[in-house]
Symmetry: D2
Subunit: 343 residues, 4 copies
């Protein structure tokens, strides 16, 4: 069994990680830390885990954590970077579900996250954990930066177009709709039931932290300049991201559908739907699958890609386990192969 530690298990991402790991046949959860909940049983916060994980939160302790084979950080931004070096030095592998190691341009990171970076060298060497792009690097990585939820849905949706030079990369648009769990479990009046239910709004139209992360990823796939407009929306559902992507075809594209089917033919967690489909987010709820449909409406050169994921699974905890499996030499789908919950 692989010994696993989780730092910061109180948020939804941590809870989802625990739910999935509790069913992972090769994992023993050794420690779950939380400064605020130390000493309390997990099931107080997460009654669904009662009788599934019999463990209490504990204070974060580098020594205990460094005895784990792998440590997941499900912490706020800025935490993993303060503990990473010590753990790596002890030979422990790290998967950070926050943003500390996602961006290579540290200056840019500092601007968007409004703090100094504790270890720019580690950010430089970290592997961006999107298996569909970086599978081989992930297999040998010590430190993996798990992608953000929007960046996962958007990059998987745009990638076949960008990699193949099929569209004008200077005028990409990602209109994204997210469920409320993407905002985490922090107590925020704006996320009260009565504030968000039966309503919908855009937010952060002037700039969202996932914009530079997506741009970085797409830029690595092409020699062209990436110009991306990204507008996230908050929608009254628990889980799910629906990315509606717009790109202008450079010329005639004879078989757009095949471009997508070929790109993802061997991917266990990307499902290209048949032509004309409209994936709904519930088709991936609680699952690690990303479902994609691609459209080219008549009378124009606009390509529209619909890409859906569960923000807590393929957009966070599920993808982290996918990375963990790769890093641990396990079959990639171990513990994350379940079908989505529907209805």
């Amino acid at each position: 069994m692989i010994q696993v530690g989780i730092v910061g298990g109180t948020g939804y991402t941590g809870a989802e990680l625990l739910r999935l790991l509790s069913d992972h046949e090769q994992v023993r959860i050794r420690v779950i830390t939380s400064r605020t909940e130390a000493g309390k049983p997990l099931s107080g916060l997460y009654p669904n885990l009662r009788r599934h994980i019999d463990i209490a939160f504990s204070e974060p302790d580098i020594k205990v954590l460094s005895e784990c084979d792998t440590v997941f950080f499900a912490t706020p931004n800025g935490t993993a970077m303060t503990m990473a070096r010590e753990l790596l030095d002890a030979g422990t592998k790290i998967i950070d579900l926050a943003a500390d190691f996602r961006m290579k341009d540290i200056e840019d990171w500092r601007k968007w996250y409004d703090m100094d970076h504790a270890c720019p060298d580690l950010a430089a060497s970290a592997v961006y954990g999107l298996p569909e792009i970086n599978r081989e690097e992930i297999k040998t990585a010590q430190l993996v930066a798990n992608p953000g939820c929007y960046p996962t849905a958007v990059q998987l949706g745009f990638m076949p177009l960008v990699e193949n030079g099929l569209v004008d990369t200077g005028s990409l648009i990602a209109d994204c709709k997210s469920g409320v769990s993407g905002a985490g479990r922090a107590v925020n009046a704006d996320m009260l039931f009565c504030e968000v239910v039966d309503s919908l709004k855009a937010y952060a139209v002037q700039g969202h932290r996932h914009l530079p992360e997506i741009t970085q990823g797409l830029t690595e796939a092409t020699d062209d300049i990436i110009g991306l407009t990204f507008v996230p929306h908050l929608t009254p559902m628990i889980r799910g991201i629906h990315a509606t992507l717009y790109a202008r075809a450079k010329g005639d594209i004879t078989d757009l559908q095949s471009v997508y089917e070929n790109r993802y033919a061997d991917e266990p967690f990307v499902d290209v739907l048949s032509s004309g489909s409209h994936p709904d987010t519930r088709s991936v709820r609680s699952s690690n699958m990303c479902r994609i449909a691609v459209h080219q409406p008549p009378g124009g050169n606009m390509i529209i890609v619909l890409s859906v994921i569960d923000n807590l699974v393929k957009g966070a905890a599920g993808q982290a386990i996918q990375n963990f499996n790769l890093m641990s030499g396990l079959p990639e789908a171990t513990g994350i192969a379940q079908a989505a919950l529907l209805p």
Copy 2:
């Protein structure tokens, strides 16, 4: 009191019309017709109207309807056109909440609605009932085509840009999110609670009937060619449309905010929010207001307009009453001035 008839009062649009008219001080509802519900009290279908409107559904009868001053059609597409001429000849005014008289290009109408038109001449003379564009024509109209829900939100959002020649009209994008009531009350397995709740999807990406209606409206406001990509989405809320609109600025626009504020300064039902705002659909729930915010994110020439309405009010029944008030010489806001319900 103005005598009013309603044809087809069983859908959500009809119910909303009844709710609003029941509180309209200048209206007497004389007749509500429904072939399927004839003889049954209104409150069977709509328990909220119990003790508010004491009337039963009746069979449609041209004679009774022609004794009304104004008849609203809240019917499926293709019904109003079969009864319009007789009513108009009798001097009765008509407001059609369906699509029979919205499009001037009858050939195009035939294609999108897949039926022949019973009276192309009436379609030609009908006034498109968007008061913010056609207020004066509406005042003297006998036959008003009430706009679709998406077209209302999208046209109000794009109009200041298009009228003033500020953007490239050939590459407009309208990414729209609608509540479920927009689909009507027809029994459709896809609209069951368990099928749409906690989920989100795009639909009709290959083409939606509201596309030519929007294009027609925008074309009338400019000499330039309109090229519009329109993608509607179904979202798990009852009411509300959120239109997220994308347009490329032609050049530097020094005061975008003022363009919007000036355009709608005297409008009772268009509220331009302060710069940087993100309107949520609940801020207009049950009200006839359209709230708009306009953004120009740094580092590009993209203008993003956020436009929200209640699809059943400003997108249907409320706008119909706004038109009715104008046609009847009443103050424009009579009966539709209430604040939105929140929470």
Copy 3:
């Protein structure tokens, strides 16, 4: 115009009061106080009121408030009692939407609300504002205690049985289901969207503050001892209370339906549905109506009463205005006669 002040307008009850009063033809809202929001425009918190009420929150100021004809307290428990005497002395009428003046037994109040009472004499003289019970006293009252939401639904449901001595009052059960807005707008992790949506739970089974309030009301209607079991539940809807009431018939009751119809025949805001009906909470959403159905299933002596209200309207702000109208000599339904919003 009647000059009105509102103390504590930041919660959902205050917002609903403002929404309804903004449409009340005899009211001028003179002042809205909030310590935390003083100086900020109302529409910041409540975007639905933008362009409807053009006023900012201000610091509570007894002098300004005492210039009002009537002051509504939409404050937490324990606030109104500290300001009431001064306002009453100045001739200002008070309607308290919190619990300060609801209970006559001050010792009991102290126990349930865990604080001392600042003015037990005022609590003794205050009129309990349930118009269906106390209409005449309300008309001449200076200080009205507006009932709680559960107590309104439960008392209206049980009253005809208790008043007429038809049931065993020692074994009453009220199983109540409430929408989330009943918990107010206070920031509480338990009321986050992701915590309450798509779920249901009972709470406060060991004892809820509304239990003694209901017991007091029922006790006044009978010489018998009241024994009540009250279990509230939190349900994933915004508004609405559904009280399911169980009582054992003492003997054969020949026409239960008539008992209810007769009791409420002249009530503008109690609607007794026809025999066999099942009211849904949406049939009263946003309206001041209470709808009641009464059942006696075959094969037993159990009477089941179904009583629904909108907790923010008949359960709070709407009933406060109903009381205000009575206290001000206005027609009882002024400003609160609208039909429910459906869908």
Copy 4:
């Protein structure tokens, strides 16, 4: 591998059965029948199963079905009884998720289900599949009647009280709240999103088919007469049943909590929460667990039991698999041991 057939896989119960069986390590799904969908791939109706179960619906065929080791019926009431004898004769085991074999009193069954029974003798010999009551009989059964959703939650909640003679069994009350999926996937205007969301109502107060099923079960556990009032409610959530149970204690009960803990100490799928708890339905969403809390509020002899299940899992498909495991000699929790999905 055990060869399994499913008759009627188009409803939510069938879909849930498929989802769970697709992850069951000892099962090979051999055939899924549906008259209406024959020939179509499963993933057309259930996009979540795409890439998980690669099979199409087929016409029901006794010959194919009788080659299976076990056949699950996820059909409307009245179907399984027409095919059961032939399958049993062929040595195939049957688990019926509908009501054909749940009741022993055929006369009563006929009355409640309004049809004649095709094989009363099989109904007589069928084993009622509630493992917590009938585990040993289930192990050797050929024909198992899987309990209804309400009966599962209610019987598990009441059983310790009734078995131990602790309460007046003549005055039991079960006030139950169900998610919408309990109504199935049949196209019914009353189950449209806009009809049930943000609302709550009781239904079938005059009598529901699950009443005699519950009464039968409780009667078998005691010599006393069972008198039960059962009121189901429809609530705006997808999954979940919350049973709030009321029973009068016969005398002083010194340790109610222990009664429950002892009764269910060895049960893998009944979790007795600590004293004072309030289980929420989401704590069992998608899981086969039943969580129970028991209360005795001060000042009376009323015992209140809170019992929650997922109606599609422990209330249907999960319990069917639990029975299947027992009938097949497999560990009881095989394939149904997952933690609930939260949030």
